[in-house]
């Protein structure tokens, strides 16, 4: 059962990823990315990461993608103009991507897995409690830095998207 769920979600994610890079209208790319994110949230749930599952749907597929949709609605349905100036762009990037995939495949063959810690309490794995305790004890400093980063990003976004850019 779990294997069937894994492969259905994986097929949805790969098809959505192909859609992201092959649709010519950017709004379809964004909606394909939402499909990928929902499929990946199913995979997270299979890996018993409930908290990340909820965050993925609410924050990522919800908030961030709505931001993309707003910007596309603001800029209008802009299409890509004809062919690019780089003649061999598609061929070169296809070659590069194949080399990268081969490297990843070769690395996956040689992975040595450490055996999981049998004493770890797996009943709490991935719950809000386990993640929250980690975030507010061991990882408190990066957590606070993340809040400052988000504040800086919000101020920067407001500053950059003002009406005029000439009088910077």
């Amino acid at each position: 059962m779990a294997i069937a769920v894994f492969f259905v979600a994986a097929a949805m994610a790969v098809l959505g990823g192909i859609g992201v890079i092959s649709f010519h209208q950017s709004i379809r790319s964004v909606l394909s990315l939402v499909v990928v994110m929902l499929a990946l949230s199913v995979e997270f749930l299979l890996l018993s990461a409930q908290f990340v599952f909820a965050v993925q749907i609410i924050v990522y597929a919800g908030a961030v993608m709505v931001l993309f949709l707003f910007v596309i609605a603001l800029l209008g349905p802009a299409r890509e103009l004809g062919r690019g100036r780089l003649r061999f762009q598609a061929w070169l990037s296809g070659l590069f991507v194949l080399v990268l995939l081969g490297l990843m495949w070769a690395m996956l063959q040689g992975v040595q897995y450490r055996q999981p810690d049998s004493k770890a309490d797996m009943s709490l794995f991935g719950t809000v409690q386990a993640i929250g305790v980690g975030l507010f004890t061991t990882y408190l400093y990066p957590f606070e830095l993340t809040s400052i980063l988000l504040l800086v990003a919000a101020i920067g976004a407001i500053y950059l998207s003002r009406k005029r850019i000439d009088d910077l």
Binding site: F6, V20, F96, L101, L150, A153
Partner: protein
């Protein structure tokens, strides 16, 4: 190879890593081939999602929570990156009236 016990059935961890690798490759292809900056940003988000899947897969294989905490930070940083990047594109579009990265070269001198 490490197997995960999910709901009574065994799934090999490398399946999750392979899916992550394929999605990362698709995102790389999008960044290299497309010339709409919005689609390039969306492809970067796709690569981040693939990395998140690899992190959570390794975390589940090792039985540690650190992978999921790193994914939490990745999602926060992706939100910041998307907001600043989209603001840059909006102001660029106001300035140059185009959305093709071949035409955006005001940083070149």
């Amino acid at each position: 190879m490490s197997t995960l016990n999910i709901g009574g059935s065994q799934i090999d961890t490398s399946w999750f890593l392979l899916l992550s690798a394929v999605l990362f490759i698709l995102g790389t292809t999008g960044v290299l081939v497309r010339r709409n900056p919005l689609v390039i940003l969306i492809s970067i988000e796709l690569m981040m999602n693939a990395a998140n899947l690899a992190l959570i897969g390794y975390g589940a294989a090792l039985g540690t929570r650190e992978g999921q905490i790193v994914v939490f930070f990745v999602i926060a940083i992706a939100a910041a990156e998307a907001s600043v990047g989209l603001a840059i594109f909006v102001s660029l579009f106001r300035h140059t009236e185009t959305i093709d990265v071949n035409e955006i070269h005001i940083l070149k001198w």
